[in-house]
Symmetry: C2
Subunit: 252 residues, 2 copies
DNA sequence: CGCACGATTGAACTTAGTCAACTGGCGTGG
DNA sequence: CCACGCCAGTTGACTAAGTTCAATCGTGCG
């Protein structure tokens, strides 16, 4: 499924020149760490929109960091119902679960064309042995992902449709802005309303109507896939979201 | 808040004699690892049912493994709505998020009286430096917790009330059985219907009615807090759950 | 006994899902 | 160029699911 690009064909991004690390969102990392990450990196891969990064029940020998593009993680029920569990964008590390657990039972799909840094699962233990700081970073990332899931679970389980939709758009905007993907209060979202519905745990029709209602509040403008948020605090209030404190995250 | 028992007052359980490790659910661990865990362990603490293990916004210097009893992890909205994000029982490691992230934003509460092994957050890095195998175990546990959250999110977002309730009881039973807490097909559950409702993302009334409907299918018997599952595969089918493959987990 | 608390039930109401039709943009083949 | 079909988005009407309100039941306990 996953095709690893030939490193000789086109040289992949050097970790010490990684464009992501320049963002304030990410920690600097020591020279030794960056050099280790470079060795840990097996190559780079580009996938088209809609391609499977992980299949829902296959095992994978790779871990990835998203260098560019959007993806989403999902789980499905046998009859086709699907829940998008989280979105992932550049800088996000994915695949820990798939690598650590035989039966991963969740899929990851490219939402746009994506470029991924590819790491070898087999060398993960080596990373833990030789770079305890990086190992702690991996764990940090894992536990932050867990926090996101907590947030999403709270949203899906206890927020009303309007709050939940506001929350999703608010959190996507905040994350995208940190990743340098927004211009002022504008953001180009890559997902269809069906994707949003699958993330919200609502039907497509109801998602559509809720978006309309949300537009009606004036908190957002949203036509096609262009989101604009004239009053972020108000959207946050509608979402009943707590303030967001930016923290520099590790980048692997 | 948290009171650490005096190790001199009453000797705490020795890790090399930990009663949990005898369960097939847990990996054996090498002598060196167990001895390190013993040093990592600061003490033991017993809390009454209803006590806060972590507050919803305080920072804590400790990590815990549940030695005995049940707890639950939850997140709340300002107006009092609450989502139980997961239940935890003996052998479960809790607090990684709270220790790694300043603003943890979720609480953990004792559901029954609980006994906890207490670890010092400050020594976590030492663990990563000196015991890469244990560090990987910590990460493994974290990513498995993440998988549970994925499952719960799928359940809350996409399963019907009946499926979702069946799923919750099924997964609680399977986990409790592995932890040696069930007798045959019987299990004493420690939580009220309000707890179940908060975990299911449903109202108390609807939870009650759904439980009645579920009893009506004959898949479960459930009076008071005694759950009995005469036909586990049928409950699993009602829950639209995939089979469960038992895997020995690390114990820290 | 009276009270507290969790469980249970019925009824009215609100929210969300389903079905079905329609719109508008965009690309392709005639 | 234009007709056509496709697909995502939009809308209304109807149905199903879930919440809220309110009352009742049962048990354990001071």
């Amino acid at each position: 499924m996953v095709f690893i690009s030939d490193r000789n064909a086109r040289s992949s991004t050097r970790c010490n020149k990684c464009p992501l690390r320049r963002l304030p969102l990410f920690q600097n990392g020591t020279a030794a760490e960056i050099s280790f990450i470079q060795q840990f990196k097996v190559g780079e891969i580009t996938l088209d929109s809609g391609a499977a990064i992980y299949h829902e029940d296959a095992e994978s020998p790779h871990l990835f960091t998203i260098l560019d593009g959007w993806a989403f993680r999902f789980k499905g029920l046998p009859d086709g119902r699907r829940q998008i569990v989280n979105f992932a964008l550049r800088g996000d590390f994915i695949g820990l679960q798939n690598s650590l657990h035989r039966n991963m039972q969740h899929g990851v799909e490219a939402l746009t064309a994506v470029t991924l840094c590819v790491f070898s699962r087999d060398r993960l233990f080596e990373l833990f042995e030789r770079q305890p700081g990086l190992a702690l970073d991996v764990t940090w990332l894992s536990s932050r992902e867990e926090q996101w899931l907590d947030d999403n679970l709270l949203a899906v389980g206890r927020r009303t449709a309007l709050e939940r939709t506001a929350y999703l758009l608010w959190s996507l905007f905040v994350r995208a802005r940190e990743a340098g993907l927004s211009k002022d209060s504008d953001l180009e979202l890559p997902m269809s309303q069906q994707h949003l519905a699958d993330a919200l745990g609502m039907s497509l029709v109801h998602t559509n109507k809720t978006l309309k209602r949300l537009r009606g509040t004036g908190a957002i403008e949203f036509n096609g896939r262009s989101l604009s948020i004239p009053d972020l605090p108000r959207l946050q209030a509608l979402a009943k979201a707590e303030g967001h404190r930016p923290i520099a995250k590790p980048l692997i």
